[in-house]
């Protein structure tokens, strides 16, 4: 069993994710912002997660006008800043990071591409168009965990969402032996945001001159990206956890703005 010392970014991420979740759950007390990871409502200002927005428009066959702007705003943020939600907002991600501690020493498979996630995403979108079936059970893991917390703390009940979360965790264990298999290979929301992160500011880049090719960054990357190659398109699935920054012994990994 590989026991990983929690890096300072992991601690920061845990604090951020927990604060955001508690903020959502305690909405009836502060009444500022209501919502979960699926959709937010701050009076007239709304936000909606990209996959939910896409399915909404496809499934109903019409363009929902009053959600056009909220959906596009979030998509714009994703285009600019990439998949940062996966590390900094999604509580399922933190749970899976914790599960990471139980995996055996990983075989490095960084750089290999998986097409499964695109297949899953396309199947979901097609099902939305063909059968008008958009039931978002696993599509929005942050929404799932937030709903579990809200339902339990305000009503004392557990519902469909706990089963969905259990399935996420089980499938994470079944498919791979490295950290966040779900996030890398299955999660539809993650796949969509990954495919949209075209500009992708603040992505890590390895300076070839300083790199000693120890590959520790690739070992620790939860998305198993071939960091040393620092290919821009490979970086699209980067979730900005910054573990690679932490672990590099010669500080060869830097953040890049374009």
């Amino acid at each position: 069993m590989v026991c990983l010392k929690p890096s300072r970014f992991l601690v920061l991420r845990i604090i951020t994710v927990t604060s955001i979740s508690l903020f959502f759950v305690s909405a009836p007390l502060h009444k500022i912002l209501y919502g979960t990871g699926s959709a937010l409502n701050l009076g007239t200002f709304k936000l909606i997660s990209p996959l939910d927005w896409l399915l909404l428009n496809l499934g109903s066959g019409k363009i929902v006008l009053d959600l056009l702007l909220p959906g596009l705003i979030v998509i714009f943020i994703v285009i600019m800043f990439g998949r940062f939600f996966c590390s900094w907002v999604c509580p399922a991600g933190i749970i899976l990071d914790y599960m990471n501690r139980f995996t055996e020493s990983r075989r490095r498979i960084s750089g290999t591409q998986s097409l499964e996630k695109h297949v899953i995403l396309s199947a979901i979108l097609l099902a939305g168009i063909l059968f008008r079936f958009t039931a978002p059970y696993f599509y929005s893991p942050p929404g799932i965990v937030h709903r579990i917390l809200i339902q339990y703390l305000t009503r004392g009940i557990v519902g469909v969402d706990l089963a969905a979360l259990s399935l996420i965790i089980i499938s994470n264990g079944l498919v791979g032996r490295y950290g966040r298999t779900w996030c890398r290979n299955i999660c539809p929301l993650g796949t969509l945001t990954g495919s949209l992160s075209i500009v992708n500011l603040f992505r890590p880049k390895v300076e070839i001159d300083r790199c000693i090719e120890c590959f520790r960054c690739e070992d620790v990357c939860p998305m198993q990206i071939h960091l040393v190659k620092s290919d821009r398109w490979g970086m699209m699935s980067c979730t900005k956890c910054f573990e690679c920054l932490e672990i590099c012994p010669v500080k060869a990994v830097r953040l890049v703005l374009n």
Partner: protein
């Protein structure tokens, strides 16, 4: 795109992926029609027609958070896979106070719904459903001095009294569930169904 040109995608693996995708779509199709029941759930006030409600609702849970009485909860699979995890009114947990009470001026759930599955409409246009009485379990019909349903009903004329027994007027009833929640009989003789519920027609 890069992912296709940088690797050797062999025809066999391509077909394998296609088959995987088809199987997933098949499963989703099965799920979408599985256990779809004909009875519609009782939705919070201001909901659009059922077909579009399940599409518009992103299960954000905001309506559940703002409901002051706890009437709204998220359904399981009892109304089908399409309507799973959507808000339904369960008057056993609390009455919907849209007619009289904490939500009287504005319906909080409809105001906060981000996607428009629930919309703000006037109080008098709302009908969530109808309450049905099972006379076997009703205390008044069994001879006890009980008229709590008629006492607490906020709608004038929905519950009238004949010979010390309550009579439920289906046309006047707005389906708030106050009578159901207040009824002291065990087991409860009242049931809230979606009969007569008024839904909003959805345009874009």
């Amino acid at each position: 795109m890069k992912i296709f040109s940088g690797e050797k995608i062999v025809r066999r693996s391509f077909i394998k992926h296609l088959v995987e995708g088809a199987i997933i779509i098949g499963c989703l199709n099965f799920a979408s029609t599985a256990a779809s029941s004909s009875n519609e759930p009782v939705r919070p006030p201001g909901s659009v027609e059922e077909k579009y409600f399940n599409l518009l609702c992103v299960r954000c849970g905001i309506c559940l958070q703002v409901c002051p009485t706890g009437a709204i909860s998220l359904s399981g699979f009892e109304y089908g896979a399409r309507a799973a995890n959507t808000p339904v009114i369960n008057p056993l947990c609390g009455p919907c106070e849209f007619y009289r009470g904490r939500c009287e001026g504005e319906m909080r759930c409809s105001r906060r719904c981000p996607t428009g599955a629930l919309r703000q409409i006037g109080r008098d246009e709302v009908k969530l459903g109808t309450v049905h009485l099972n006379k076997e379990y009703c205390l008044a019909h069994r001879g006890f001095e009980c008229m709590v349903c008629a006492e607490m009903c906020p709608v004038p004329g929905a519950i009238t009294v004949q010979e010390r027994k309550p009579v439920f007027n289906k046309d006047e009833c707005v389906g708030c569930g106050t009578c159901l929640y207040a009824c002291p009989a065990e087991p409860k003789p009242l049931q809230l169904t979606s009969e007569g519920a008024r839904r909003i027609k959805w345009f874009v």
